[in-house]
Structure formats: structure tokens, C-alpha cells
Amino acid sequence: MTASFTDPNAALSPELAARDDMINCRGVKKWFGDFQALKGVDLTVKDREVMVVLGPSGSGKSTLIRCINRLEVHQEGDITVDGIELTNDLRNIDKIRSEVGMVFQQFNLFPHLTVLDNITLAPIWVRKKARVEAEATARALLERVGIPEQADKFPGQLSGGQQQRVAIARSLAMEPKIMLFDEPTSALDPEMISEVLDVMKGLADSGMTMVVVTHEMGFAREVADRLVFMEEGNVVEINEPGAFFTNPNSDRTKLFLSQIL
């Protein structure tokens, strides 16, 4: 084994290795004031790969994926998304944001708009779609996430699980190539978690490139192509699920797994 276990291309199956890179992070460093949240992250996500990011609280998981669509600005290193380099050029940022969808822990639906309007807002004003067309797409997406009958309600009238599925539909309406998930089920009651995870599995099966921060180990084991373990702003291990859970390379990973499993 030549590559180290934090090599961005570690543990790639031959099939994945042959695909294009969708996201490339090289030496990404990020400070909040004097506090360094990312200490030089190298990561590659392949086309149609599902990557799950694990790590203790405060390890920089959210910060990392938020850097990928520029919700946070990194200070050093390069991030390339689908061949577009993330720089201060506003046009590149717009282009990347329209290719990358994001789902938040707190859903962040627009409370003053109906479910349908939540989903059609960006397609109409960013993608410049006709309203009729956008609404048809939105209804199809609601069908796909299993809540077609909620189209005319307001977010406040839905359960948490339903809201998170609307949020997923809202992101999908922009037809992104990549979806980022930041602990999408952490704010949900236990009985609603599976309905959201099912939608995400369906999405993974359909070939979406996904980066998922989660504490749902079952999901990670079943769906992920590779797992990334982070600690204190560093990537500690990148591995495929089987090896990650049964025989991790790093002692840190072992410790983490022993604490949560």
C-alpha cells in the first residue's frame, strides 16, 4: 500500500478511480479569528460518489462542506468543483452554487412561502424557468420525496421529517450535480429519521454525487462509497465502509467508533 490512509484517493475502488473528480480540496485551511477550524484538508469526491463525513463535535465537518459552496470562505488552499475553481470571482461562485445543493440540519425553509413556492422560487428567479414548468417540476419532486399532498401548506404546518423532505426537494429543483447534507436528521424526532434517510438512499441510487455529514452509522455503512473521519480540523482517515467499521487504520478512528457504537 503506497498511499497513506489520508490520501484523497485512498480506498477508491477501481470503478470509482476511473471516474472524473467532482470536488477537489487541496490543503484547505480556514480560520475563525485566531481559531483554526480546518488545518489543511485534502479531499477528492468522485462523480456519483457518496461520501460520508464523520467526526466528533467541533472537528470541522460543517465548516468543510460549507466551504465547498462558499457559505464560508477558506483562506488557504484550493477548492475545485466540477472543474470550476472557487475564487473570489462572483461568477464562479454563482456557477458553483447553482451546481451544488445543500440541505441543512435546521431545514431553513422559507416560512412565509408555501411548500410549492419554496421549491419554485430559485428555479424561477435563478434558473429563469417559466412558472408553469417550475411548478410541474416541483410537484414531481414532492411526489418523489413522498409528500405530494402538502404542496399548498406552509412549512410551519408540516412535521420535521416532512419539512426536511421539502428542503431536499427544494435543492433538487435546481438540478444540482452535487448535494451536500449537513446532519440532515439531527434535528428530527427518531420516528421521522428513516423517512428522510430513505429519500437520501433513493437519491444515492439515482447516481447523485453526495457529501453527507451524519451520525447515522447505519446509513453510512449501507450507502457510503467511502467514509471520511475528521478530528480537530484534520482528515484522519479515508476508508471504504467495510474496513472503516471493522478494521480502521487509525487509532483515533478506533477510539471514536468505540465511543459511539
Binding site: N69, D94, F104, N108, L121, K128, Q157, R170
Partner: protein, 611 residues
């Protein structure tokens, strides 16, 4: 709420057990209630006693004030027309009725198409009626009440009390039964009509310097129009409800919003003012200019709303803004002359051009944007032409509006203009660009530090001194500008409070979806901020409304001046200030109180504070 109901019905379908009905909070019998709340202890009983004594004393004093021997209420009754519409010529009064009819019709349409239907529980209705009746009875027995009025108060009091208590007794579970909005509207309309036809309030008129004052019933010239007004109010409502299912609701709503923004200007300048259009000039100059702006501007805007136009679009918009500003500078220094509406049109076009990238989209969105521009040009040019045409009204003392009308108009326009201005200022103050932030902060803090009356004096007397020759501003316009600039600073602060309450996640979600900053602001942040600001904004609107009486001090013939100066200096009513002031207070109170009630139900409807 709806979600819960769905769950319940699902449970039932699935064979679940029907849930228990939530038990009612029992409605207490009044004696019981008084025992528990007013006389629960010796201290409480004492406090209640003191409070009742103070309240009774105040009422006594107030009734004495109203029925003072030296008061001549004919001063108000005779001058009603002066109070509400100042010098508006009697033979042209049909124009006033027409305007009022339009407004009432619009109120009904708005209620019907925006589903505004406040309702009141029968219990509340009963309590209000009883309270009113009891108060009236107390006024009836107070010694200060003159014997003629005493009997009226006693009868009305007894009727209301009987009706209120009777309703509460006769209806079971009155807190669960509601009087619907149509019923209230119908009752209101019928009461007004009945009052006009049945109550012998006398015929009072002040014509050609002499008072016509005879007993009996009101003039037909008052009775008949009021009957028609109420027929419009009620009839339009029921008609609108009947045809609503057959009409597309969205366009009607858009039309109504347009009416509330633009309609009053039309009523004031085109209906009430009755300009005599010079049709030759209209055909040769005005219409060609309007068409020119509509077509050329429309073409430019259609191009500017093309998606992904990029930098060039922004350059064109800024260039247009440059031309627009230059036109005003030129006017100020007299470099070249130009029709006023051309200047205005250039400015509005520039604003449309600047906003174009935000509203860029596919064809139908672009056509709609151009349509909005064409509508603005058509309405704006018509209005400006009307304003600049001489009026046929033969009024001795301009302005042609005065009394309560001018107070209302000033209030309406100050709010209409200071709202968007304040919103822009609030956004500027929270902007990340330091120039905007500093400018907005300086402006807001400066204005908030000086009294309104200073601003009004400055604008009414000083501003015209600084204007170059040939450019003049009517005193009323100057007052309006000053008041608007003042009010905008407060609106800005209220909206800023709302902006700060919008959660960070909303910004992040918008950014993640790729919305531009202005799209994020217009579609996501502002609507939520405004909703939170409603209570404060309404509070400020009420203050603005009441403070319109300050324009009295800078010499406008507003409601207060008519009551306190014009009437009190009529030979017949010399020194009758008190009745005027009481009347003005009563009218202001009715309007301000209605506004605050309306805002409370609006808050409930929008769910402010219960998110």
C-alpha cells in the same frame, strides 16, 4: 393546526378512537367574576372603590365639559361640510361622493378578495353592548347632563343594556357562536341608513354667510348620498363574494393593490380637482411622449431582463441613472428646460433598469416586467398631465382640499412614500457596504434627534428660499416632503428591527440556492422582516396620523385649524373652540382606535409572535 387535524382524521380512518372534545373554559357569571376579580380581599375591594370613584369623577367632569351651557354644538353641526372638506364647492359635491363611493367599493372588494372577514363572538358582542348601555345609563343619571339629553341617554342605555344582556341570556354557549363579517357589514350599513332617515338631527347648513338651522330631518342631499354609499359598501361586498369563484383571484388582487397605491391620486387630482385638459396639446404632446417612453423604455427593459446579460446591462442602467440625475441637476441650475414628466420618467426608467437583473427571467416574466413599466408610464403621465392642468374649481382659498380630507390625504401619502423609503434606508443601514451604512445611519440618527415641528417649519418656510427661480414647490408639497423624510427615518428603524430578527439560516439557504443578494432581500428577507415589524409599523402609522394635526401650526387648513380657528371666528359661533376640539378628538379617536384594532387582527392572522 392543519397538520394536527390531518393526523386526527387519519387516526379516525385507521379505526382509532375519537379523541375527547376539549372541555370549555366555563364562562363565569358576572357576579361570580366580580367577586373573584374585584372584591377578592379587603384591599382589592378598597382599590376597586377608589378606582370607580376616580373613573366616575372623570366621567362626570367630561360630561359637564360636553354639555357646558356655553357650548353651542350647532357650531359643529352647521359646519360639518367645512370640517370634512373645507371649501369644496357645494354644487360640485357629487365629486366628493363619487370619490367616497370608489373608496368604499374598493374596501368591499379588498375584503372579499383578500378574505378579510373579522368576526366577533356573540359573547363579546353582548358584553360590548351591555357595557355601552351601562355607560349611557350612567351618563343619563349624572346631574351634569341636561334634561333634554338625559332622556335620550336613558332610552339608548336601556335599549343597549337590554339587547346585550338579552343576547347573552338567550344564546347558549355565546362564546362559541360568531357574528360573521357579512352580518356586521349589513348591520352597519342599515344602521347608517336608518340613522340618516329616521333620526331628527335637524337641517343644518351654513350657506352664503348665513346659518340655516331648522328642526326635523337631515337634508335629502345628505340622506340620499349616504344611502347610496352604504348600498355600495354592502352591495359590492356581496356581489364580489358571489362572482369570486368565477374570477381569477390573483389578477383582481393585483388590481386592488394597484388601486390602493395609485387610486387616491386619481381621485384627488382628476376627480376632485377636475382639470380641464387641453385636448389639442394632449394629442400632440402628452400622448406621443407617453407612447415614446412606453415603447423605447419597454424595449430597453425587455433587453435588460435577458438572463445572463452581465456587466453591459449594469452599465446601461447606470448610464440611464446618470442621464436622469443630470436632468434634475440641469433643472436646478437652469441649463436646459424639459417637461417635468420627462424628468420623472427618466428617473423611474433608470430605477426599473437597475432592478432589471433581479427580475430577469424567461419570456413571460420579461413581458410582465415590461407590462409593469408600461402601466407606470400610462398612469404616471396621465396623472402628471392632470396635475399640471388648471382646475375648473372656483375656490377662494387654495388648496382645494382642507379639513379632515387634507389630514387624511397627508397621512396616506406620508405613509405610502415613507414606507419604501424607510425600507431602503433600513437595508442600507444593515448593508455590508460602508458608504451606504454610514449615510443611512447619519440620516436616521439626525432626523430622529430633531422634533417634527422643526422639520415642518423648515420645509414650509425655508425650502422655497433655496429653490432656484422658476422651480417652485407649493407649501403643501413642501410640508409633505418634510413629513415624509421625517417619517421614513422611523419606518427604517422599525424595519431594521425586523431585519435583525430574520435568522441566519434564511440567508444561508438563499445563498445555497444561488439567489443574488437583491433577490434574497426582496423574496426572502424583507417579507419576513416586514411581518415581524407590523405591530411597530402600525403604532407608528397611528402616531403619524394623529400628528398630521401639527400641520395646523405651519398654516395648513387641516381638520384642527378648521375646528379651532375657522369655525371659532365665524360671527355666529365666535369663541366656540371647545366643541370643535371635542369633535376633532372624537373623530381622531375613532380612526386611530379602528387602526389599532385592525392591526391586532392582522397580527393574529399572520401569526406574528406565534412562530
Amino acid at each position: 393546526m392543519a397538520a394536527i387535524q390531518d393526523d386526527l382524521s387519519m387516526n379516525l380512518e385507521a379505526g382509532g378512537v375519537a379523541p375527547d372534545v376539549r372541555p370549555d373554559t366555563p364562562v363565569k357569571d358576572p357576579v361570580q367574576w366580580m367577586k373573584e376579580n374585584l372584591f377578592s380581599s379587603v384591599g382589592n375591594a378598597l382599590l376597586t372603590g377608589v378606582f370607580v370613584a376616580v373613573l366616575g369623577g372623570l366621567l362626570w367632569w367630561f360630561v359637564g365639559l360636553v354639555f357646558k351651557d356655553s357650548n353651542d354644538w350647532d357650531a359643529v353641526a352647521t359646519n360639518i361640510r367645512l370640517l370634512f372638506s373645507f371649501n369644496y364647492p357645494a354644487e360640485q359635491y357629487i365629486r366628493v361622493w363619487f370619490s367616497l363611493g370608489m373608496l368604499l367599493g374598493a374596501v368591499s372588494l379588498t375584503a372579499a378578495f383578500f378574505d378579510i372577514n373579522p368576526s366577533m363572538s356573540v359573547r363579546k358582542l353582548g358584553i360590548n353592548a351591555s357595557g355601552l348601555g351601562a355607560t349611557s345609563l350612567i351618563v343619563g343619571v349624572l346631574p351634569a347632563t341636561p334634561s333634554g339629553a338625559r332622556i335620550v341617554f336613558l332610552i339608548i342605555g336601556a335599549l343597549f343594556l337590554a339587547a346585550g344582556v338579552g343576547t347573552l341570556q338567550a344564546v347558549d354557549e355565546p362564546h362559541k357562536k360568531f357574528v360573521s363579517f357579512p352580518t356586521m357589514l349589513l348591520t352597519f350599513g342599515l344602521s347608517v341608513v336608518a340613522f340618516a332617515w329616521l333620526v331628527p338631527i335637524g337641517r343644518n347648513e351654513f350657506a352664503n354667510g348665513a346659518v340655516i338651522d331648522e328642526g326635523g330631518f337631515a337634508n335629502p342631499s345628505t340622506k340620499i348620498p349616504w344611502t347610496i354609499m352604504m348600498a355600495i359598501l354592502v352591495g359590492v361586498y356581496f356581489l364580489a363574494r358571489a362572482v369570486k369563484p368565477m374570477l381569477p383571484v390573483k389578477p383582481v388582487q393585483t388590481f386592488l393593490i394597484t388601486f390602493w397605491v395609485a387610486g387616491p391620486a386619481f381621485l384627488i387630482f382628476l376627480v376632485l380637482r377636475d382639470p380641464t385638459f387641453d385636448y389639442d396639446r394632449v394629442l400632440k404632446v402628452d400622448i406621443p411622449w407617453a407612447i415614446g417612453f412606453a415603447v423605447v423604455g419597454g424595449a430597453i427593459l425587455y433587453w435588460l431582463t435577458k438572463p445572463m446579460l452581465g456587466e453591459i446591462g449594469r452599465l446601461v442602467a447606470v448610464a440611464l441613472l446618470g442621464v436622469a440625475v443630470l436632468n434634475w441637476v440641469a433643472a436646478f441650475f437652469g441649463w436646459w428646460s424639459m417637461l417635468q414628466k420627462t424628468r420623472v420618467s427618466f428617473l423611474v426608467l433608470a430605477l426599473f433598469a437597475l432592478a432589471a437583473p433581479t427580475f430577469a427571467g424567461e419570456k413571460s416574466a420579461r413581458v410582465r416586467y415590461v407590462g409593469a413599466w408600461v402601466a407606470v408610464v400610462a398612469l404616471g403621465h396621465w396623472l402628471i398631465t392632470g396635475i399640471n392642468t388648471t382646475s375648473t374649481l372656483d375656490i377662494a382659498a387654495p388648496p382645494f382640499l382642507g379639513g379632515f380630507t387634507i389630514s387624511l390625504v397627508i397621512f396616506y401619502y406620508v405613509m405610502l412614500v415613507s414606507f419604501p423609503l424607510g425600507a431602503i434606508m433600513a437595508l442600507a443601514r444593515t448593508s455590508t457596504l460602508p458608504i451606504f451604512r454610514v449615510m443611512a445611519t447619519v440620516y436616521i440618527e439626525f432626523i430622529r434627534g430633531i422634533p417634527l415641528i422643526t422639520v415642518l417649519f423648515f420645509f414650509s418656510s425655508m425650502v422655497s428660499l433655496f429653490l432656484p427661480n422658476g422651480m417652485d414647490l407649493s407649501e403643501l408639497a413642501a410640508i409633505f416632503i418634510g413629513y415624509t423624510l421625517f417619517s421614513a427615518a422611523y419606518v427604517a428603524e422599525n424595519i431594521r428591527g425586523g431585519l435583525q430578527s430574520v435568522r441566519r439560516g434564511q440567508f444561508e439557504a438563499s445563498d445555497a440556492l444561488g439567489l443574488t443578494t437583491s433577490q434574497r432581500t426582496i423574496f426572502v428577507v424583507l417579507p419576513q422582516a416586514l411581518r415581524v415589524s407590523i405591530p411597530n409599523l402600525v403604532g407608528q402609522a397611528i402616531a403619524t396620523f394623529k400628528e398630521t394635526s401639527l400641520i395646523f401650526i405651519v398654516g395648513a387648513f387641516d381638520f384642527l385649524r378648521v375646528a379651532n380657528v375657522s369655525i371659532a371666528s365665524q360671527p355666529d359661533y365666535l369663541g366656540q373652540n371647545l366643541v370643535g376640539l371635542l369633535f376633532v378628538s372624537a373623530v381622531y379617536w375613532v380612526f386611530a382606535y379602528s387602526m389599532s384594532r385592525a392591526s391586532r387582527s392582522l397580527e393574529t392572522k399572520l401569526g406574528v409572535g406565534s412562530r
